[in-house]
Subunit: 206 residues, 3 copies
Amino acid sequence: MRLTRAHLFSVCDIAATGLFAVEGAMVAARAGLDLFGILVIAFVSSLVGGITRDLLLGDTPPASLRRATYPILALVAAVTVAIGFHVIESVPRLVLVVPDAAGLGLFAVLGVTKALDFKVIPVAAVLLGTVSAVGGGVVRDVLLDQVPGILREDIYALAAAAGAITTVLALRAGAPRGWAMTMGFAVCFALRLASVLLGWQLPRLQ
Amino acid sequence: MRLTRAHLFSVCDIAATGLFAVEGAMVAARAGLDLFGILVIAFVSSLVGGITRDLLLGDTPPASLRRATYPILALVAAVTVAIGFHVIESVPRLVLVVPDAAGLGLFAVLGVTKALDFKVIPVAAVLLGTVSAVGGGVVRDVLLDQVPGILREDIYALAAAAGAITTVLALRAGAPRGWAMTMGFAVCFALRLASVLLGWQLPRLQ
Amino acid sequence: MRLTRAHLFSVCDIAATGLFAVEGAMVAARAGLDLFGILVIAFVSSLVGGITRDLLLGDTPPASLRRATYPILALVAAVTVAIGFHVIESVPRLVLVVPDAAGLGLFAVLGVTKALDFKVIPVAAVLLGTVSAVGGGVVRDVLLDQVPGILREDIYALAAAAGAITTVLALRAGAPRGWAMTMGFAVCFALRLASVLLGWQLPRLQ
């Protein structure tokens, strides 16, 4: 069996989903939720972005509810955190930024290309790519009664949007799909890491 | 006219909807909202769980917006609370747990069977049954700027999930629909009541 | 080219969308968000009400994601606020109530007629008209971790509902569509302004 591009996408998607689920479960555990609450937040963090995208595209039931893989990933993430909370907590935050930036870029690029497949206009596709990438984190923060990090902090949703825009522009310029997605991913990943390492911030009005 | 099972489902559904609407209206009144705010929260508490389920199933417009019964129930609940607030408030909380647990079980079981009718996978059906049962309360708490009770407190959403899982397993084992639903309802109801009466809690990580 | 009624609707819709986007951007700027956060809140404030209406009607992708006009309006609004924040901030709040009441009435009336076109029942159409008008503001407030203004304050969502009800009743009484919409708009606009100017409040239960 040859590793086709479809296989690669699936692997990336599953990796990013599992990663976001673990991150969500860690946030929930730190907030003092019980085991079931941790499971709920793992679900929300990893699946709500893609579910929102699919609802807006009219692709129902959402992809993540048509295969058992995705809900099971959230379950595995919650169990992993329940067992390994203190081990994961001891990893320096800066190290965790790398896989998170990778997940962000993957979701943004997969989201924008799925939206384009559904024939929405490019501006809307960029919006949906960004929502795929950051939607789960936003709803997680709302449920935990916090202003979503993406509204307060540095360059996070902007990196996802930049990655989605790059993919759209590359496709328009005639790049093959795989290359356009790789370029979008690279832009998002690099912009996110640079903003954390270099402390970049967008200006405020007051 | 004979009382068929479809009638019985309708009666149960309407009873559970009215009950959740009254509960929501009471929470809104306690939070100091005005009469229109109480009406909005009654709507949200009783209808948003089922609406979310129907959106995810692609069954639009949602069932509760296709019959006037449901919105009118929320209106009646808001008026009931506006007139009888102090009477209902004087009922001991522990007594109110019984009808709430019944509503929880009904929504979970009706939700999971509707999802199965739409041919989603069993894991997703359990998720949608749970969302049917607890979704309204979650959005109500978010609107009132509180961390949703189901994330902080004892066994509530878990009881709904257990009821939905029971129904799925019973159907798989070949039980007739009515029995599978009754068993799911009983598991949810008993687990919820036991957890309140015996003070059961799920473990936390810190 | 003659100015047809369809043109007039489009102009009104675009004016109301731009207005709600500017208002949302101002709220976000006052809350200390960065430029991207201001853009996100401008999007949410102006588009989420209509998107929610379209999701519930099953009209996907939502109208505001099928034409670039709407997302671009939100972008223009965010840039306008970034440049002219202090100018807009110096306008007395009472003056801003007038365009806001106009936007509220427009969204309510456009929302309820679209819902009726999709053959939902009148009660649900009124609900969807109200959601069109106030949904964006509710989600904006939730994201900024505030109890939505419509739940705490005076007559806002109620004015939208009154406008939607008026339109439905006028259509039922045989009024032509244009007149029914104008009457609904007038009721919403007048009720909202009167409630602000005269300090009307709905009663609370405690």
